[in-house]
């Protein structure tokens, strides 16, 4: 898989590490925090939200790929239309995954709940039955999606509706709405699911647009609050907390708890805990998380943490962090077996040793590639939670205070 990084021309600052060692760097007192925040806002964060809003709006458009699929059900065009709709979901999901690493500002405002409308919170379990129930309830004129819990909505619910090959419901017998579901015709079940997918897509698109508008100068202008020269310590803290998504969510939740490398999985592996259960795109999600992590770390061509750390006389730390994420991305490029399959194979083998060895020695032992990826992520997070936090003088977020590998 290619990195796909877009090297944007930055009008907001220079700097950068890597090949530019000869370029003089500023001292800590002179470092241009304002330039760093403007760069990250204008070149990384807002463009990501803008593209997410665009893609999710297209997904929600009744005349877009999802609407086309709904119209094509039970016709010769159905399979092709479904492929196109799935591709559109995949593109939007990739953008959302990038945004997960900068969960700060409007998207993190618990009062608005915007994040949870885009994707369910990590600490809640997806409710397939809740979606099935909503599919039926959605036929009623007074159905109100806003009353449904967040674990029945967002991009995860869309994935379930678009990628789950089974049309059977997932509810216990006690749920009245789904009791006759399995007896309905295949075409009707597809149509009803697709109709509900459009409702959810509209909610996702509305949330994505709300996040974007909250950042824009003509909207809520959070950009001005974010890129404020007098608040650099607080903003650095927010950005740093965001980067720790790589530890709490990527290393521990998306990989560790699936591969039996985290104490939340008490078996050899827990394959059903993969993030994208139906689309088999869990590793793609991780790739987009890492790409975003790298962009926030380096600011692409503009100012960011690498320049800040260099200004402290510690360029080696940022260089190591970039090299570590590149190791992980390079390995991801070589992995063809979906994460769930790898976890299933581990579980069936009953042997954790291969995974543990790959995780402990990712450079030399990649027998279980996803476990080696976990090892590379641990390299990243070890540096993040030690050298990085010391260099930029921030605290560990509460959610990663203890390391439970």
């Amino acid at each position: 898989m290619a990195l796909g990084l877009t090297l944007l021309c930055a009008c907001t600052g220079g700097g950068g590490s890597g090949d530019d060692e000869a370029v003089p760097v500023a001292s800590p007192e002179q470092f241009d925090y304002f330039g760093m925040f403007v760069n990250l806002a204008d070149e990384v964060i807002v463009p990501n939200y803008r593209q997410l809003a665009t893609n999710t709006a297209a997904l929600a458009d009744p005349t877009g790929p999802l609407g086309d699929y709904c119209a094509a059900i039970d016709t010769e065009e159905e399979a092709a239309a479904l492929d196109t709709a799935r591709l559109a979901w995949r593109d939007a999901m990739g953008l959302l995954q990038e945004s997960e690493v900068h969960q700060l500002g409007p998207v993190a405002d618990e009062n608005t709940g915007l994040h949870d409308r885009l994707i369910k919170p990590a600490d809640t379990n997806f409710s397939a039955c809740g979606v099935d129930q909503s599919v039926v309830l959605g036929r009623e004129p007074d159905f109100d999606l806003s009353t449904r819990l967040v674990n029945q909505k967002g991009m995860g619910a869309l994935e379930y509706l678009l990628f789950n090959e089974s049309l059977a419901h997932n509810c216990p017998a006690q749920i009245p709405e789904t009791r006759d579901w399995n007896e309905r015709s295949e075409a009707q079940r597809k149509r009803w699911r697709c109709d509900h997918a459009l409702r959810i897509a509209a909610d996702v698109a509305e949330a994505a647009d709300a996040v974007l508008q909250a950042w824009l100068p003509e909207g809520g202008n959070y950009r001005a609050e974010f890129a404020h020269p007098d608040q650099h310590e607080a903003v650095i803290g927010l950005l740093s907390d965001g980067l720790f998504y790589i530890e709490s969510d990527v290393k521990d939740r998306k990989l560790g708890s699936v591969l039996g490398l985290h104490n939340t999985c008490s078996q050899v592996a827990c394959p059903d805990r993969v993030e994208s259960l139906w689309s088999a795109l869990s590793l793609d999600n991780i790739q987009r998380n890492l790409i975003s992590y790298r962009r926030i770390l380096t600011g692409d061509e503009g100012l960011s943490f690498d320049d800040m750390i260099a200004s402290l006389g510690l360029p080696g730390i940022a260089e190591r962090m970039v090299a570590q994420v590149d190791d992980a991305l390079a390995l991801l490029d070589t992995i063809d077996t979906p994460l769930k399959i790898q976890a299933q194979e581990l579980l069936e083998s009953g042997q954790a040793d291969g995974c543990v060895n790959s995780a402990a020695n990712p450079d030399t032992t990649q027998t279980v590639s996803a476990c080696a990826l976990h090892g590379y992520l641990k390299h990243i997070t070890d540096t993040l939670r030690t050298d990085f936090v010391t260099a930029v003088d921030v605290d560990l977020p509460d959610r990663v205070q203890s390391d439970n590998d």
Binding site: S127, C129, G130, Q133, R148, L149, N151, Q152, C171, P172, A173, Q174, I175, P176, N263, S266, Q267
Partner: protein, 472 residues
């Protein structure tokens, strides 16, 4: 620095807030309102009760192969508020209306059992779960055991009736949650959940609170974090607010005054039973049953009094601290002592119940006739009593204050509890001398001896009076 006058004022406020010998405390933040609330714990008790109802409602075996028995049971264990708040609960009191509306969402929202089972919340004490081998891997968890029990119910329910030999002739048993090896999964599931969810949460989570640090108002609520945590522990214990007003017979639903005789009472006379305050759930009734069992003995137990007093005085001190907005060292020590007394006495109610069922199982085995069950009831009684014994006994490992963990009883440690559970095994020994389908060395005679050894260990661990142990 808080003055003596200030302390006196706070205590006076707390005393004034107490109404009789009831678990009733006014908020320090709004003197007109109660600061006691634990509807989430009531909801979990109700989910356990409804799970039992579901098991009891399964049709006779064999049920249709297409029946999703596990899904029907998971409905309660992994309760999904988002799909099911509007569904009616099955819990009911004969002819007695409840204050709470008829739907789950009227009791509380967003609660389930799996999220609060030991190992998920809080972490397993010592990082291990032990005492049940069948169907478990090398690294078992309580959640996995529940999943195993559910799968076993599914398999049993879809199997042919159980044929047993009795002294009176062959019998065919169609109960869907029994196994031919003498396991009553309905009892195992219920009793294990009371330990792994309610007892674990109460003792290993809420009573473990740093109460000094928690003497701060919780958000904008009418209580401090410490008060609320204490209330949640009390809610898991399951007692009605006026628990001391009941006789042991009434708490055990074994007689007493007419309006009290079924384990609940309309204390405020509104014609409705409030599940949050007027009903006795779970282990709170076991305490009374065991007290009843020692009435008239030389050293009768007072579990109901001891456990309620501990909960009451601890909460009283926390309420005073909330009024005072300070918690001194003396109060911290007192609250810690009350937490320990509540947890240890609660555990005694459970362990005495284990003793009770050891005695019942032994009596059931005494009824065997020439290598056969005396009759069908002999088989079903053995299965029921054994499952209650083992289900309750497994719960003893979830309390950090347990004598098996505290080191306060000479010669008793965690290995003693492991030995007790191992002596019980994963199934009773049947009249033909088998346990779980395998020959048991020494047969019924040896197993009876093993259970007596387990009972002796329990007697030593809790320093129970031998007369009480023999009579429970």
């Amino acid at each position: 620095m808080v003055s003596k006058l200030g302390r006196l004022a706070a205590v006076t406020l707390a005393v004034a807030a107490v109404s009789g010998c009831k678990y009733s405390f006014k908020s320090a933040y709004d003197k007109g309102e109660s600061g006691v609330t634990y509807s989430g714990q009531v909801m979990r008790h109700l989910l356990i009760e409804d799970l039992v109802d579901e098991l009891l409602a399964l049709p006779p075996r064999p049920v249709a192969a297409s029946t999703d028995v596990v899904g029907q049971l998971d409905f309660y264990f992994d309760f999904d508020s988002g799909t099911s708040d509007a569904l009616p609960y099955s819990f009911a009191l004969d002819g007695q209306p409840l204050l709470q509306g008829g739907n789950y969402g009227d009791v509380d929202t967003g609660k389930n059992l799996v999220g609060k089972i030991a190992g998920n919340d809080p972490a397993l004490l010592g990082g291990e779960f032990f005492g049940w081998e069948a169907g478990m891997d090398a690294d078992p968890t309580p959640e996995e055991l529940v999943d195993y029990y559910f799968a076993q119910v599914d398999a049993e329910a879809k199997s042919a009736p159980i044929d047993i030999l009795t002294a009176g002739g062959p019998a065919s048993i169609t109960t869907p949650y029994l196994s031919a090896t003498g396991l009553d999964y309905r009892q195992l599931i219920q009793k294990f959940l009371l330990g792994a969810v309610a007892f674990s949460q109460g003792t290993a989570d809420y009573l473990q609170t740093d109460f000094r640090a928690a003497n701060v108002q919780e958000d904008d609520n009418l209580y401090t974090e410490g008060e609320h945590n204490w209330d949640e522990a009390f809610g898991y214990f399951g007692a009605a607010r006026n628990y001391p007003a009941y006789t042991d017979d009434e708490l055990a639903s074994a007689g007493g005054r007419g309006a009290w005789a079924n384990g609940y009472h309309d204390a405020n006379g509104d014609g409705l039973i409030d599940l949050n305050s007027e009903y006795n759930f779970g282990n709170s009734t076991n305490c009374a049953k065991r007290d009843r069992g020692t009435a008239g003995n030389t050293n009768p137990t007072e579990f109901t009094t001891d456990v309620f007093n501990a909960f009451f005085y601890g909460r009283f001190a926390l309420n005073a601290a909330a009024n005072l907005n300070a918690l001194g060292n003396t109060e911290v020590v007192l609250i810690g002592a009350m937490a320990e007394q509540a947890a240890v006495t609660w555990e005694k109610c459970i362990s005495a119940t284990v003793v009770h069922y050891i005695n019942d199982v032994s009596a059931d085995m005494d009824s065997f006739v020439d290598g056969q069950f005396a009759d069908e009831a002999n088989f079903t009684d053995l299965a029921k009593h054994w499952a209650e014994m083992k289900g309750f006994a497994l719960g003893l490992q979830f309390n950090p204050y347990s004598p098996f963990r505290s080191g306060k009883v000479q010669g008793i440690d965690l290995d003693s509890l492991k030995e007790i559970l191992a002596l019980m095994g994963d199934a009773p020994v049947l009249p033909d001398g088998t346990q779980g389908g395998e020959a048991f060395a020494g047969g019924v005679t040896q197993y009876r001896s093993d259970l007596q050894t387990a009972r002796d260990l329990l007697q030593a661990a809790y320093q129970f009076d031998p007369e009480n142990v023999a009579g429970w």
